[in-house]
């Protein structure tokens, strides 16, 4: 079963002379329960694909289908129950004057849950933070703890597809290991599907089953992680990327 289907996706910014085509004709499928990686240099359009899926980049054409339902330009609330995103920088993605309780409580309320109190407790347990963090503010948390809160917020509506935009690149390697373990556990427990953007090939190799290599807005190659491990890339650019990161 296909969880996410992307067909001939184009994303552009600006118009006329200033038009920039950030993504050009991208197509790929992500199966239910699969973990799919997008790699490439900065500016290659990998984050833009995630932003187009969630509706943060409104100028796109092509077809995006989640769970075999085509996405319209305006997304229904049901869409956000199914798809959630975790951003790169945990220092920027949490409101500095909202406590953890307010962040999670508001999300739960917006999604129409009634037993908010019990759910906040369970979300915090799920991401390994526990009760004592419930009434803290972002400045009282470390980078890893903040990213856990951001993950808890994404899990609040009980989504099926999680879009991860460089979830560990702002963190130390020791903290990165904790977050990657947490994400792997959550995927298993909740049967989640991941679409993960990273510039770090070893992180994608660890987390994903398949990956797409992007260059200048185009997908140049879709490969299995097994091929990545033995450095078997077909496209010269993917070979170059592999060599540079070892």
């Amino acid at each position: 079963m296909t969880m996410l289907h992307i067909d001939n996706l184009n994303v552009w910014f600006g118009s006329g002379r200033d038009r920039v085509d950030a993504v050009k004709g991208a197509s790929f499928d992500v199966g239910a329960g699969e973990s799919f990686g997008l790699v490439g240099e900065s500016g290659s359009g990998k984050s833009t694909i995630l932003r187009a899926i969630t509706g943060l980049a409104p100028t796109w054409s092509g077809r995006i289908a989640v769970d075999e339902r085509t996405i319209e330009k305006t997304r229904a609330r049901a869409f956000y129950k199914q798809v959630q995103m975790v951003f790169q920088d945990p220092y920027a993605s949490l409101h500095p004057r909202h406590s953890v309780d307010a962040v999670l409580g508001e999300t739960l309320q917006l999604h129409g849950f009634k037993d908010i109190d019990a759910r906040v407790v369970r979300l915090l347990d799920d991401v390994g933070l526990g009760q004592k963090f419930r009434f803290r503010y972002p400045h009282q948390l470390s980078g890893g703890q903040r990213q856990r809160v951001a993950i808890a917020r994404a899990l609040a509506p009980e989504p099926e597809l999680l879009l991860l935009d460089e979830p560990t690149s702002a963190l130390d390697v020791s903290v990165q290991a904790e977050i990657l373990n947490l994400l792997a556990d959550l995927r298993q427990e909740h049967g989640l599907t991941y679409l993960m953007v990273s510039h770090d090939l070893s992180v994608v190799g660890h987390m994903c089953d398949r990956l797409a290599v992007m260059k200048d807005g185009e997908i140049v190659e879709i490969m299995d992680v097994a091929d990545l491990r033995v450095m078997k890339a077909a496209h010269p650019y993917s070979q170059h990327l592999l060599q540079a990161s070892v």
Partner: protein, 285 residues
Amino acid sequence: MDTLLDIENLWVKFPTRQGIFDAVRGVSFTLGRERLGIVGESGSGKSMTGRAILRLIRPPGIVEADHIKLDGVDLLQKSEKAMRDVRGERISMVMQDPKFSLNPVMTIGDQIIEAYRLHNTASKSEARAKALEMLEAVSIRNPERVMRAYPHEMSGGMGQRIMIAMMLIPNPEILIADEPTSALDVSVQRQVLDIMDKLVKERGMGLIFISHDLNLVADFCDRVLIMYAGRIVEVCDADKLHDAQHPYTRGLLNSLPRLNAPRDRLDVLKRDPAWSDAPSVSGRV
């Protein structure tokens, strides 16, 4: 090997409402004509060490040391005015992010020319020729155009190369590079490192390379200091970093995902309070 920089018992302290916070706690090391790596997590005091050498820590921060000797002269004894002749001209520093370190309202050419003329008496046209030459040395294509451009027109990799050009134009003896490549893509990272490597070798400079990336440091440097909680916990040759003994270094190495050795779970660092209590290891040669 001749010693360029000799640091003994360096402390960096910040007074807070909860008492004095020690960011760097009694660090000693020497730097010769080599590439010395300093690695550690955020908050381990590696950047503070780099800044303290140039006395860039502003009050209320306090820098204390038995000595910070540059060619036998103690930098701590120098007046603020005398320090200005050291910064840039003898010891120069490349910061992490070119976006915040270049002047946004000055063309790149003017900034590099300013850096040169501050330390050398040269006419404008001489300085301009020198700046163009330097931009070419850091592999910038079309330097004429770049000279006229403003920083926001540059990509991250180009910005970082421009920073390096600007820092190297006064021909310093020591270059301190604080995470010079962590904002860059892997392929650009290589280029920038190669350029720094070439310049360090050709000019016989000493390089202090501050990074959180263990693999990069193992690859690029000659010697590595591993810092934890403001102290040096281990010193080793860079090519032997992967055989490091200290449990903290081992923990950091094991927490990295590896392409050729897949694992279901990554090892998580278990911190031992004894690591931060143990005395600092000397990084002297």
